[in-house]
Structures are given as C-alpha cells and as structure tokens.
C-alpha cells in the first residue's frame, strides 16, 4: 500500500509539474507584457524597463519558471527596496492588479466555492443514486423511460440557460428566493441555505443526470452477473442480495467518478458562480481572465489541477479499500 501510494503521488506530482510548465509556457508566450499593465496609464519606456527588472521579467524563460516553482515551496519576494512585496509560501504568484498574493486571494474565496460544490454534490449524489436505482429496478417500465427521458433532457440544457430561467422564475416572478449572495453559514443558516440553493440546483442537475445513467447502467450490469442471479435463485432474502452482492460493486465506479468530479468543482464552478455573481474561485478566474490578470489565472489553473490529481489519488486509495478485487495495477 505505501509503495502504491508513493508511486501515485510521484506521478501526480509529475502531472502537476507538467500542468505548471504548460500553463507558464503558454502565458509566457501569449500574454501581454505584465510590466506594461502594472505601469498604468502614464507609462514611459524607462519605467517599463525598471519594472521588468524589478520583477525579473527580463530573465530567460527557464530562470523565471524555476523561480516560480521555487516560490511555491519557499515563498519569494518581488522587487526590491521600499516597493518590494513579499509572497509567502505557498506562493502561486502575485497579482499586481489587485496587489495581493494569489494564494491569499484563493484562500479567501475557497470556502464559497467549497460550499457551492459540497451542496451540489449532496444533491446530485442523492438524485443520481435514487434515480439510477429506481430506473434499474423498474427497467423497461414507464418510470424507467420517464427517468431516462428526463436525464437526456437535463443533460441537453446548457446550465447558464437553466440558471437564468430559474432565477427569473424563483426570484423575480415568484419571489421565493433572494438573488444569490455568499452569505456565511455562521451569520444566518436559513439565509445561507436560501441563497445557495439555486446555485446548487443548477450545478447539480447535469451531474445528477449523468449519475443516474451511470448508476442505472452499473446496477443492470451487476444484476446480470451470474453470482447475483445465483444468489437470488438460491432464495436469499432480496434485501441481503442487494446489499451484499449488487450495490457494492455497482456503486464503486460511481465513487471513482464522484471523487474526480467533486475535486474538479472544488476549484470553482466557473459558469455557475459567474452567472449568479457568487464570489468564489470560479468567478475570480473569470474576472481575472477578463482583466488579463495572468498570475491569478495561473494560480487557479494550478489549484484546479492539484485538486484533480489529489482527487485521483484519494479515489484510488478508497477504491482499493472498498473493492478488494481491484489490484493496484489493474
């Protein structure tokens, strides 16, 4: 087990380094000169050179990249003298447009994104598992076909369209819900729920549909397995067969997918947060793209990559624990 974990962590780190390098390379090549952006409206060529020197932007690509990677672990200082700014480890860069370390900006907004992700995850897991099971058990009936139709439909609605329709109906017309804002749970649990419920629904619906289909397919597959048929035929109580033989293998793939989906969302649900104007990591990313705040875009990209990699490792570990049949290198 530790060896397996070690190899997964190593390859995960490799992937992260690649993500890092790729992002850095692309932005290095594409981005307008950050020095010009920092310089502002009344800029002179001399001033730009000075800023470039201060920030190490005149260094060759590899030097800058190494500085960036070292900064993640050891922190770094941008510029020198009175105008120097410190960026403590883990330094994912420094946004000169908002004069903040990228890490601090992310930490500030991460709880909001996590709230959106967790709530949506609970919703889609419940709906997806229940819908999928029901659909599988009632295979071929009207209920099954209805659920299948519903899932195909929900998968085809772009979620920004759904968000706006929901907001129009629930907030503007019926006035059941407020315009979503990130109210902290500690301030007012009821308002917290009312504010977040719509983003949760919008984010969850597509996943719920996907999970319904996945659950249904897996349960049907397992039910066709010989050992399950045998168990039923032996006359074992159906509830026992379901619990012991059918559900567990049928749901393990769901766990895999869930781990990665959830990890990906922790790094911010860009569209949902943007449409509802919720200040999470996703909206920050969208705003930063609009302002071309390159360090923030890079920071968020790295964070999201990191979360997916960690999610993968966690899933692998959980997987080997709950399903002993799976050998590590299968």
């Amino acid at each position: 087990m530790p060896r397996f974990l070690l190899s997964r962590v190593t390859s995960g780190l490799g992937v992260l380094l690649l993500v890092c390098l790729f992002t850095y390379l692309v932005f290095f090549a594409l981005s307008p000169d950050p020095a010009v952006q920092i310089c502002g409206k009344n800029c002179t060529p001399e001033l730009i050179d000075q800023i470039r020197g201060n920030l190490g932007l005149d260094q060759p690509f590899w030097t800058q990249f190494v500085q960036f990677v070292v900064g993640i672990f050891a922190g770094r200082t941008y510029g020198e003298g009175v105008s120097a700014v410190d960026c403590a480890a883990p330094c994912l860069g420094y946004s000169f447009q908002s004069s903040q370390a990228v890490w601090d900006m992310i930490v500030q907004r991460l709880p909001v994104s996590a709230t959106v992700a967790v709530g949506a995850a609970v919703l889609w897991l419940l709906a997806g598992l229940a819908g999928g099971l029901l659909s599988a058990v009632k295979e071929g009936t009207f209920a099954d076909r209805f659920i299948t139709g519903l899932t195909l439909t929900s998968m085809s609605i772009p979620n920004y369209v759904l968000a706006l329709v929901l907001q129009y109906v629930l907030v503007v017309k019926l006035q059941w819900l407020p315009f979503p804002q990130a109210v902290p749970f500690a301030d007012d649990p009821v308002q917290w729920f009312l504010n977040f419920v719509m983003p949760w629904m919008v984010l969850a619906i597509g996943y719920a549909a996907a999970y319904t289909r996945l659950t249904r397919a897996n349960v049907l597959d397992v039910l066709r397995e010989n050992y399950v048929r045998t168990a039923f035929a032996k006359g074992l109580p159906p509830s026992l067969v379901w619990r012991r033989h059918a559900l567990r293998p049928a749901l393990t793939p769901v766990v895999t997918i869930f781990g990665m989906d959830f990890a990906g969302l922790l790094g911010g649900a860009l569209i949902t947060e943007t449409v509802f104007g919720i200040n999470g990591v996703g909206k920050m990313a969208a705003d930063s793209i609009a302002r071309n705040d390159q360090p923030v875009i890079m920071g968020v990209t790295l964070l999201a990559g990191f979360l997916v990699v960690v999610g993968n490792i966690v899933v692998d570990v959980v997987y080997t624990t709950i399903d002993p049949r799976v050998r590590v290198n299968a």
Binding site: S11, V15, L16, L18, V19, F22, V26, F27, L30, S31, P32, L152, T153, M155, S156, I157, P158, N159, Y160, V161, V165, Y168, L203, G206, Y207, A209, A210, R213, L214, A217, N218, P249, T252, P253, T256, I257, M260, D261, G264, L265, G267, A269, L270, I271, T272, G282, A285, A286, I289, A290, N292, I297, V300, T301, A304, G305, V308, V309, N312, V326
Partner: protein, 329 residues
C-alpha cells in the same frame, strides 16, 4: 472522468465512465462488433427517439448547407440592420409581438440592430455545426490514432501517451480555453475553437480505444496475423481498427453534443466566433439579457440548440444500446 468542461455542460460522453472504469471489461466480445452496420441500422430504424433525433440533425445540416438559398427566399441577410423593426425609445426592443415576428421577419429581429433572426439562425447553424463537427473529426482522428498506438505498442509509447492524457484530463480545460482564446488574436476564432476543443477532448476517446486495443491485441485473429508476418501498422489498421468501428461511431456521436455545448458556452462567455458572424451560442449569449422582455429572442436559439444537443445525445445513446445488444452484453 466525466466532467470535461468543468461545469460548462454535462452533455460530454458521461457514459464513457462505464467503459472507463476498471470494473467494465475493456472490450467485451470484440468479435461481435463485426456484425456490421446493416444490423445496427435495422435496429435503429424502429427506434422513434433515434429517428426523430436523426431527422432533426439532417434538417439542421440541410439548413446549414442551404443557408444562402433560404435567406434569399426570406429576403434578409444575417448582417442587414432594419431600423424600422425596433423601437429606439425602448432600448432598441423589437416592435410587435413575439420579438417582432412578422411576414417580413419570420423569427423576429435582434434588439438594437433589427437584424433578422431567421437569417442569423440559418447562418448560425453553419457556424455551430461546422465547429462541432470539425472538432469531432479532429478529436476522433487524434483519439483513435493515439489510443491505438498506446494500446498496441505499449511500453514507452503507452507511458508517454498515457501521461499526456492524464495531464490533459487533470487540466482545468475551461479556464484554460477561455484564457487562451481571449489572449490570442481573434483573427481566426473558428479554427482556434476547433483546435482548443480538440486538444482537450481527444483523451476521452483515446482512453477507451487504448483499452480495447490492448485486449484486442491479445486475441487469436491478431496473433494469427502477426504469425503470418503482418507489420505492426498493417495489424493496427487492418485487424484492430475495423473492430473498433462501433465504439468510435458511438463515442463520436456522443461527443458532438458536448462540443456544440462547449462552442455555445465559450461564445456565451464572450470568446466565441468573431462578430458579425452569428453562432447559436453567441445568439443565446446576446439574448439572455433580454429574456425578461423579449423571451422569443432567447427561446429561438435556445430551443434550436437544445434540440440539436438532445438529438445527438439520444441518437448516440440509442446507437450505444444497439451496439451493446449486438455485443451480447
């Protein structure tokens, strides 16, 4: 791995997960796949959903091809302004019910400019379809060839390709796509969109192709070909590839709606095709602000897009069911 464009759209081939996981046998009874297209078509013909979907896809394709003919009949190009169709005092809102629907403008007009929505839908179909189909083609070519290589040659080739796939799938594609598209000069956005979508899309197909290739490579008919002295390339293209046909068709069909949605979503976020060219995503993006006062403006492209995505999803879903049944699963 399901959520390729994070929360952009979930119409991505989610079901791929079933084949994706260690649980599912990578290539179940590949021999059965040889049952041929004829049988598949016979089975599909009696499926109402699949046929409706196919019918709509054919319709949209025809509309896209015949766009210039259709607009010459309707009388408006997608770029012409019609100041008489909008009310300058109400923010440029279309005059008349249903977003200005009239004999002159069949689907109404765009607020602010009075451009004909019918013409823009028709030309928008061209953009949306061509981007989605080109992206599908490119992803399929990339995914199949790299998946085959990884699966057949194994070893170092597999290691490199698999790492690249891991890397691309761990990558927050949506953020990155927007950032790259907004930073690059907008000159040839359509081509860029296709490239960017494909770069992040191919691993999902390649993974499955790789798995199936690995299992096919162990089978007797491949062994036999190898024993007969066939070259690696020949085995891959003559023996293995034909057996992957159904998988590829199903996966590609299921990928199209994802790409349509991605193009629309990127247009919605303002990094889509360059104005004044219309695309359905761009139209939805422009219309969302008006949904409360001019719902027709929002509904027309919204429904067109929704139906197209739904059609591809249903068709792909049924196709998969038929293929699965033929495989005897």
């Amino acid at each position: 791995m399901t959520s390729f464009p994070t929360d952009l759209t979930t119409a991505q081939p989610v079901e791929a997960g079933t084949d994706d996981t260690p649980e599912a046998p990578a290539a179940a009874a590949a021999g059965a796949l040889r049952s041929g297209a004829g049988g598949t078509w016979q089975a599909l013909r009696h499926d109402v959903g699949a046929m409706l979907g196919l019918g709509y896809i054919v319709l949209v394709t025809l509309v896209a091809i015949l766009a210039p003919v259709l607009t010459s009949i309707s009388g408006w190009t997608p770029y012409e302004f019609d100041q008489t169709a909008i009310d300058p005092n109400l923010g440029g809102m279309p005059i008349g019910p249903w977003g200005g629907v009239s004999a002159e403008h069949w689907f109404g007009v765009e607020p602010g400019s009075g451009r004909d929505i019918f013409a823009r839908i028709v030309y928008g179909a061209r953009v949306s379809m061509s981007i989605a189909l080109s992206a599908t083609l490119l992803t399929t070519v990339l995914g199949v060839s790299l998946g085959l290589m990884a699966g057949y040659f194994g070893g170092r080739v597999d290691l490199v390709i698999s790492r690249v796939m891991d890397f691309l799938m761990a990558f927050p594609a949506l953020i990155f796509m927007i950032a790259v598209l907004s930073a690059l000069p907008a000159g040839n956005r359509s081509a860029l969109l296709v490239v960017v979508i494909s770069v992040f899309g191919w691993p999902y197909l390649a993974r499955i192709v790789r798995g199936q290739t690995m299992s096919l490579a162990q089978r007797e008919f491949v062994e036999a070909a190898r024993a007969a002295g066939a070259s690696g390339t020949r085995i891959v293209f003559r023996e293995i590839l034909p057996n992957l046909r159904s998988t590829i068709i199903v996966m590609s069909t299921l990928a199209v709606p994802g790409y349509i949605g991605t193009e629309a979503g990127l247009s919605f976020l303002g990094v889509g095709v360059v104005p004044p060219a219309p695309s359905w995503g761009q139209m939805i993006s422009a219309s969302v602000k008006w949904y409360a006062v001019d719902p027709a403006y929002f509904v027309v492209p919204g429904v067109c897009l929704f139906l197209l995505v739904l059609s591809f999803t249903v068709l792909g879903d049924r196709l998969r069911a038929v293929v699965d049944a033929q495989e005897g699963r």
